[in-house]
Structure formats: structure tokens, C-alpha cells
Amino acid sequence: MTPTVALLESSTLIRQGAEAKVYKSYLYDGQISGSDARGEPILLKYRFNKQYRHPTLNSTLTRQRIAQETRSLMKCLRSGVHVPGLRMVDAQEGVIGIEWIEGESVRVLLGAEDEETEGTGDTSDLPDLEQLEHDPLAKFNTTSSHVMRLIGTEIAKMHAADVIHGDLTTSNMMLRQRSDEGTEVLIDFGLSYVSALAEDKAVDLYVLERAFASTHPDSEPLFQTVLDAYSKINSKEWKAVGRKLDEVRLRGRKRSMVG
């Protein structure tokens, strides 16, 4: 058994997606003066091998994707985007360890059902009555429009660093409250890549807009708040990105097709 496999086996599986298994873990036992026992919890993301894929292709791809994901995270950290910090990387086995975020997904906070392991299978899930009565945001002492501004701000900072997320949804964002930092939105990664093109940034926003529409009905005004905050922070690029976003919305999808 390799050390990384042993680490995974000692960890708690919390989610299994199409691309990766996610675990809560601790890297060591024992205590260092001034820190908690066993250190901090971390989140392990294991990009397991796909049986359908040729083994050679599996290992090159895994390595490439781990490198891409960690570089995007590092770029975001350097640029002051709120993303989880990195704790360990094993590109050979396809595992990265990142900071454990104690918080709640924006998807749940906006009243949609929690995702089980994956998609719920329903494109029109509505918030249930109980959740409407007890606004989940109250716990964070904040409002949905404030959260939208935070989201717009983080995406703008990320795009200003030329990082394209590739899969922006409200499930990929966490709200965290810390006494010293106040409320912040953190972005989780996976399919990201680096690009300076306004087109790519616009598609990133469009993906989020569609995710909003399908997950949070009647969310149009909310999404506008995201864009308002975005345009303020990434004002340099907003003109080009906004124009492209209108284009992308018009054609609906990327290309018309020839049989």
C-alpha cells in the first residue's frame, strides 16, 4: 500500500462525484505546541482512475489536471481570491489536500436542496417551505444580495488573474464566517484553466447564470447583483467581458451546427 492510499484509507469519505472522491482527513497524529491536536483537518480530493481509460492516458491526464488545478489555486491565492489553501499534492496518485472550509454551500443558503452525491436529477428543484420560513442566511447574519456581491467580487478577482473556473455553480461556492475576517465566499475548483480571453470569462459567467436559473428560480435580479459587483472590481475588463456575455446569451450556446 502506498502512503497516499494509506492516507485515504484512514480518512472519512464525504462525497463521491464523477471525477473525484472527497474525504475529510488529518495528515498526522500528535500535537505541536501552539496548534490543535492532529493539526487542522484537511479535505482530500482523489481523482481516481477511470477503468474505461487506457492506463497510460489515465496517469498523464491525472498529473496534468492536478497540476492545472493546483496552479490555478496558487494563482488565485497570490491574487487575493478567496480559495482554499493547499496542504499536500500527490500528482502520481491523483490526490490533493486542501484547507478544510467550515461553512455552508451557497446553493443551500439560497434555499435549494443540498446536492446528494451528485445532481438531483431535477432541473426545477424548488426550495421547500420550511427553508423559506427560516432563512438559512440568517445564521450568517447576512442577506442574499450581500452574498451576491461577495460572489461577484471573488469571480472578478479571479478573472483579473486570468483564471477561468470552468464550472461555476452555487454548489462550488462556500460561505464562511470568521470572527476576524467577517463573512467571505470561497470558491472550490476542479475544471479550471488559465486564459486572458474575454470570451472565456464571459462563458464562465454565463455558466453561472444558467446554474442560477436552473437551481434558483426567480434569481434574475440576484444574478444582476453578481454582475454589478463584478463590473466594479474587474472594471478594466468589464466592457469586453460584458459585451461577450451578451453575445453568448444571444446565441444560447457556442455554435450553430451543420449536419
Binding site: 464523477a18 477503468q51 474505461y52 498523464t60 451528485e118 470552468g166 475544471l191 450556446r253 457556442k254 449536419g259
Partner: protein, 365 residues
């Protein structure tokens, strides 16, 4: 047809009081097809006939619109006659005549639509214009019994990941440049494989002999793929100093078979990956492969492994229904005809561009 969907909503299709018959005509690319389908009051669907004639070009050559249209004009009377004869019915027994409205190549589409219009006038039968892609999906669902699958539609002109939602086949992912069939066919031409029965079939046979996996660009973006880079790279390998058109057994060299193997392994892995992503997104466990490339057994195998890992299954059809055919046009056409849809003569045009998600899928819940 299935009367219920997984949500338990009942099908909008009304129970029939008698058998309904439709003729379908397809010629959007180099296959010319005619087929007759029967829908019965008990809900069963019968393929009465399914005739095809393929325009095959010499190795190294693709099919040009003009020549393909000429092929269709030369053969269409024979193909329709055979289809009617095999079905054992007269034109007068038909309820409607269905033809491919698009997408596809202009000239071949028009040559077939012209015949459809003529038959409609001659026998006073309503016309139904059909979206080629929807034809593939409906025939695939009918043959395999898949209820609400994620559909991977892979052919010479299309590469799409599709899921049904609220009266539309929605495109979740697609190629950002060339179609997968186009990619394989073009490479077949580069290495001079025969176009008989199809370049894709010959790539598949060649790939079975391949052993070495060469590194090729692997480009997926979310649920989309890009395939033009991989074609360029595979072509570039044929100019490599280690490339041997005929296997010499030398260490470090590679052959056309290795290239076909590498191309298939890489491209299909990309397709399976985006399909899985769509399945995860929607929460579906079924996947249906349609379109000409869907016949490829390696693709079916890889998709099957993925689906099994997810606790689901893959549905695929053989070359009779995967490869472009007339019966799928009859099937999709008759479904929409039963919902009251007809194409007026004045509107019975063709269109090279016709997106799958433009069609109102009224016959599903």
C-alpha cells in the same frame, strides 16, 4: 412507445384506434435511406422495412455535395420501391411522408426533399419535416427501450451530449470544432483506408491491431470537447521518422494501426468523460449512443464500463439503426404527426443548420 416517464407523468400521445403507417426518407449525407414504420393501438412499433444505399467514394476521397446529390437522385426510386415492397403496402396506405429537413448537406437534402414533396402531391399525403438528430434519438429510444437516457450523438457531422427536459432535447455538451466522425473519416483518408463499408468501420478494425498508445492532445472543457487539435497531431505522426506505413517490428516505431488505436482511445475517452459529467449533472444512470460512430464497439465497451461503475447501463444499436437510415425519420416523423404536426408544402424546405434543441418534442411528457 413507453406510456410513462420516470416521473410518472403519462405520455401525451393518444392511444390509436388503428395502425398508423409512415414512410421516412433520409439523405442528409452520403447514405440514402427509406423505411416504413407502423404504430399500433397496443402501443407496439414495427419496422416494416429499412432500406439503405450508400455512396462510397474511392480511398482518400470524401464525398462532395454535388456527387452525393447525384447518387441520391440515381437511387432514390429504387430505394423507395424496395422499402414499399418489403413493407408489403401501397403508397395509399401511408398516413404521412416524412423527410429530413436538416441538418445536413444542402444538395443531398434537397434532392430527397424534392422526391418527398412529389410523392406527397401524387398520393395526397401530408408531409412531415424531421430533424435528423431527433430521428436518431427517437429510433434509439424505441429500439433499446431506454426511457430517459443521456444521449451521446456521434456521427460525421455531429457530436453532442443531449438530455431531455421540458419538451426539448437540450444540448449539454458538444464539439467546439469538428465532429468525431469527421475527425475519424479524415484520418482514414490520410492513411488511405477504404471507404467501404465506411472509413470509421475500417479505422475500428485497424485499431484492433494497434498496441502502442501515442500521446495526443486531450481537450475537454466542462461538457464540451475539441477535436481539431487531435486530428492535426495524429496526422503529424505520419511524418514522424518512427512512423512505418507497414509494420517492420523495429523497436520504437509505430504503424497506422497504432495511430488508429491511439486516436480511438483518446477521442472516445473524451466522449465518455463528457457523457459521464452530464450524467452526474442530471443524475441519470442510462446512456444511449446514437449516430454512425455509435456502431463502434470499442466506444460502446468504454461507455459500458463507465455506466456500470455508476450502477447504470449503456444502450446502443447496431449499424441498421446507428448509421443514417430512413426508418428513424419515419419514427420521429410519425410521433410528431400523431401530435398534430404537419409541414405545409410551402414550408417544406431544407436547412443545413437545424439545432436539436429547436424542435418542440411534444410527444414526450
Amino acid at each position: 412507445m413507453p406510456g410513462k416517464t420516470r416521473r410518472g407523468l403519462s405520455s401525451p400521445l393518444k392511444q390509436l384506434d388503428r395502425d398508423y403507417l409512415a414512410l421516412g426518407l433520409e439523405g442528409s449525407a452520403n447514405k440514402l435511406g427509406a423505411g416504413v414504420i407502423k404504430h399500433s393501438p397496443d402501443g407496439s412499433v414495427t419496422v416494416m422495412s429499412n432500406i439503405r444505399h450508400t455512396y462510397i467514394t474511392p480511398p482518400g476521397e470524401g464525398f462532395q455535395p454535388r456527387d452525393t446529390a447525384q447518387h441520391h437522385r440515381d437511387w432514390i426510386i429504387k430505394v423507395i420501391q424496395d422499402a414499399m415492397k418489403q413493407a408489403g403496402i401501397e403508397m395509399s396506405a401511408l398516413d404521412c411522408i416524412c423527410y429530413t429537413k436538416g441538418p445536413g448537406m444542402g444538395a443531398p437534402l434537397q434532392s430527397v426533399a424534392f422526391v418527398a414533396r412529389t410523392l406527397s402531391l401524387l398520393y395526397k399525403k401530408p408531409l412531415v419535416g424531421v430533424n435528423h438528430c431527433v430521428g436518431h434519438i427517437e429510433m434509439g429510444r424505441e429500439i433499446t427501450g431506454a426511457q430517459n437516457p443521456i444521449v451521446l450523438y456521434v456521427s460525421g457531422g455531429n457530436t453532442q451530449v443531449i438530455a431531455y427536459s421540458q419538451q426539448r432535447y437540450r444540448i449539454f455538451g458538444e464539439t467546439l470544432d469538428i465532429a468525431v466522425g469527421n475527425c475519424l473519416d479524415r484520418f482514414a483518408r490520410v492513411i488511405n483506408l477504404s471507404n467501404d463499408p465506411s472509413p470509421g468501420y475500417n479505422i475500428e478494425q485497424e485499431a484492433k491491431k494497434g498496441k502502442r498508445l501515442l500521446s495526443l492532445p486531450y481537450t475537454t472543457k466542462g461538457m464540451d470537447v475539441s477535436l481539431s487539435g487531435i486530428l492535426t497531431s495524429t496526422e503529424a505522426y505520419t511524418f514522424d521518422k518512427n512512423y512505418r506505413p507497414i509494420d517492420t517490428g523495429e523497436e520504437g516505431t509505430f504503424t497506422p494501426a497504432d495511430l488508429c488505436f491511439s486516436l480511438q482511445e483518446t477521442v472516445f475517452a473524451m466522449l465518455v468523460e463528457i457523457t459521464e459529467r452530464a450524467m452526474a449533472h442530471i443524475g441519470s444512470k442510462e446512456v444511449l449512443i446514437v449516430g454512425g460512430v455509435g456502431c463502434n464497439e470499442r466506444l460502446q465497451e468504454m461507455m459500458g464500463i463507465m455506466a456500470k461503475e455508476r450502477g447504470g447501463q449503456v444502450f446502443a444499436t447496431d449499424e441498421r439503426f446507428c448509421i443514417d437510415n430512413g426508418i428513424m425519420i419515419a419514427q420521429a416523423g410519425l410521433l410528431s404527426y400523431r401530435m398534430g404536426f404537419q409541414t405545409a408544402l410551402s414550408k417544406s424546405t431544407c436547412t443545413q443548420r437545424f439545432r436539436t434543441d429547436e424542435v418542440a418534442v411534444t410527444w414526450r411528457a
